[in-house]
Every structure is written in C-alpha cells, then in structure tokens.
C-alpha cells in the first residue's frame, strides 16, 4: 500500500483535484509535450525552410526549439506561468463578456447598478 493512499482524497486524486491544481499540472504536461516537440524537430529542416532567422533570432531561448534543453524545474516554472496566464485571460474574458450580456428583458432595473 502506498503511503499516499492513507488519504482517500489522494487515493482518488483524479476526482478530488481542485480546478487550479488541475490547470497547473495540465500546463506542465503541455510544456513537457512542447519540449518533446522541440526534440522531435530536426534543426536542419528549419534551416532548409528558411525559418532559421525568424525562430532563432526573434524567438531566441524562448522558442519551442530551445525547450528541448529545458529541465524539469524550467518546465514547472513555464507551466506555472502558462497556468497563471490562462487564469488571467479567463478572468478578463469573463469580465468582458459579463459587461456585454444584456440585462433581463423583464427586469425592473434595466441598468443593473447595485449600491
């Protein structure tokens, strides 16, 4: 029996994980797959396609190609930043669409201002 299985929440982690934690791990997994994508691309092919300048000079160390050299801690950091970015984007888009949503037609207050 694993030590972590002493906790029923941990033994059923796929069901009990919080949305934030899930987003973080999913972002780390995306970064890991991107790193393997960088590993799978032959840099010579990039040169042949004439994309060398665009990818290496503009993207520099942050391009997907450079991710092949990233270690676990760097991938975790990138995953954290990605998760934070997605959260900010989600909050902003929710606020934006909330403002665009029309007031209920049958409502007394057409302008929903609450003091």
């Amino acid at each position: 029996m694993l030590l972590i299985h002493r906790s029923s929440r941990a033994a059923n982690a796929v069901r009990t994980v919080s949305p934030g934690g899930e987003l973080f791990v999913a972002s780390v997994v995306i970064c890991m797959i991107l790193a393997s994508f960088g590993d799978a691309i032959d840099p010579a092919w990039i040169g042949e396609a004439g994309l060398e300048v665009a990818l290496f000079d503009l993207g520099g160390e942050f391009s997907v190609l450079a991710m092949r050299h990233w270690h676990l801690l760097q991938l975790l950091l990138a995953g954290t930043i990605l998760a934070a970015g997605i959260t900010v984007l989600r909050v902003c888009s929710n606020a934006f669409y909330k403002a665009l949503r029309p007031a209920p037609t049958g409502g007394v207050e057409k302008v929903p201002i609450k003091l």
Binding site: M1, L2, L3, I4, H5, R6, S7, S8, R9, A10, A11, N12, A13, V14, R15, T16, V17, S18, G20, G21, E22, F24, V25, V28, V29, M32, I33, S36, F37, D39, A40, I41, D42, H71, L72, L73, Q74, L75, L76
Partner: protein, 301 residues
C-alpha cells in the same frame, strides 16, 4: 552522466527523485506497526530502529544497483515501459485502498519482525527505485542525496506527507506527469534505439504523446463525457498504429512515405497506413456499444 553541482539539471533531477520518492513511497510506518504489534514493548523500539535502518539500506542498495542495470542495453526501454504502467497505476482511483498483504501477520521474534519489514520494503520499493534510477540519469550522488532527503520525511514525517497530498491532490497528478516524463526520457535514451531515433526524430513526439496519453489516461478519462470515453483507447491505439508503420518501414526496408512511393504496392501500403485504422476503430466502437447495452440490460433485469 555526471551533473554539475547545483546546476538546473542537477536540481531538476533531485526534485524529480524527491517527488517520485514521496508519491511512490510505501507505508513503512503502517507495516512496522503491524509487524511489531505483538512484540514486547522493549523489543518494539529496537524493531522500529533496525527495521527502518534495514529498509533504508536495502532501498539505497537497490537504487544504486538499478543505475548499473539501466546501463545495460535494452533495460532503459524496459524500465521506461514499466514506468508508464506505474504512472497509470498511481493515477487510478482507489476507493478502498487495501492494507498491504505483505505484513498482515504479526511477527513473534525480533529477527522475524526486522526481516518482514525489510522484505516488505524491498518488494514495495521496486517501482520506486526503478523510477528514481531513471530520473537520476546514472548519477549515484543524486540517488543518495534524494534518498537522504526523502526517506526521513517518509519514515518520520509520514503524517506530514499524508496531510500535504490530502490538502493538494494535484501533487499526485504532478507525480504521475513527472513519472511519464521520466519514462519518455528513458525510452529515448535507450542505446539500442539511439540510431533509429536519430533517423526518425519525428517519432519522439509520437512517443511522448503516446506515453502521456497512456499514463495520464485515468485523469482525462474522468473529465470526458460518456460518449467520448472510447478516445482513451482510440488515441493511444492510433499512435501505436502509426508508430508500427515507421518500425515496419525500418525493419523490412519498405517505403511508407507517400511522396517517395514509386509503385502500386507502396501506394497501397501508404493508404493502409492512413486509412487502415478506420475499420478496426469502427469495430471497436460497435463492440463497445454492444457491451454497454448488454450491461444495461443485465442491470435492468
């Protein structure tokens, strides 16, 4: 492979070892308690000390042995495949986690108690040492450091670990992802396949997605709607199908690239590669539907 001390590679490997140690740790405290419960009070203290010492020693010896075993061609691939299964097992929901059968009977003597604790730890720790052997990239220093940090936490701070994973179950998911990542790095480091990967670099991405889709299957399967559940089987199966054609092309020296095909046979092979998976996929979906309906009928009456 030797790491420069405190470099990003060193700290990353150390973090991976500690995380793997924590999520795959066996419940030593429970086993010690079960084994020693019938012994006299004064012997119990000695059993706890020597049982813990023996468990740590056997774990360290096994981990160092694994580093040398993994250097043998073929074992890195085998170890990587085993890690995929371990990661999947870790994420499988376990509603009624059973107590280990390894230590159900209390020991009657001091030597018997220590022996049971050490054997139970050695059996429970096989997956653990395999994973940390893979994550250590052949560095014995990293394994010893990782064990020196994580074993005391597991033995004397087990309640702390339980509280941590109970509060943040995402640690388990992260552990599963790190195991899958370790499995991928072990498979692509396999010396027997190095030349093949050099010639087929694109297959590394297919292998990475295949490993993640199998290891993390229990996780995304929980989030999928019922009608989308077959994807958990179909996605890895499709990737294996594509990979099989790449392997076949190398083994039997056949042309599977559409742009380089020259005769009808090669065009036929190419069609089989891109469309041949459709009939088995449809057959699988039909058989699954029949099975689900049959189970529903049985449940109704």
């Amino acid at each position: 492979m030797e790491f420069e001390l405190f470099s990003a590679a060193f700290l990353s490997a150390l973090f991976a070892i500690i995380l793997i140690d924590l999520v795959l740790a066996g419940d030593n405290a429970l086993i010690i308690g079960l084994v020693a419960r019938n012994l006299p009070k004064d012997t119990q203290g000695k059993v706890i000390f020597w049982g813990t010492f023996g468990a740590i020693a056997i774990r360290a010896a096994m981990a160092i042995l694994v580093v040398y075993i993994l250097a043998v061609p073929g074992f890195m691939l085998g170890g990587g495949l085993a890690l995929v299964w371990i990661a999947r097992k870790l994420l499988m929901p376990d509603p009624d986690a059973a107590i280990s059968h390894l230590a159900k009977a209390p020991a009657a003597t001091f030597a018997g108690a220590v022996r049971t604790i050490v054997i139970a730890d050695a059996i429970m720790g096989v997956d653990n040492v395999l994973a940390i052997g893979g994550a250590a990239h052949g560095s014995v220093l990293l394994i010893v450091l990782g064990l020196a940090i994580s074993v005391p936490i597991i033995v004397w701070g087990s309640q702390l670990v339980i509280k941590l994973v109970d509060r943040y179950p995402s640690v388990i998911l992260l552990g599963g992802a790190v195991l899958a990542w370790t499995a991928y790095s072990m498979i692509v480091r396999e010396p027997l396949l190095a030349a093949w990967f050099e010639a087929h670099t694109a297959t590394k991405l297919v292998i990475a997605i295949l490993i993640f889709s199998i290891s993390l299957g229990p996780w995304y399967s929980e989030r999928l709607a019922e009608r989308m559940k077959p994807l958990v089987v179909l996605l890895p199966a499709l990737l294996v199908w594509m990979l099989a054609f790449e392997v076949a092309a190398s083994v039997w020296k056949v042309q599977v690239d559409y742009l380089l095909a020259r005769d009808h046979g090669e065009y036929l092979l190419e069609s089989l590669r891109w469309l041949g998976w459709l009939p088995p996929a449809v057959l699988f979906l039909w058989a699954r539907e029949q099975l689900v309906q049959r189970i529903r009928r049985i449940a109704r009456g």
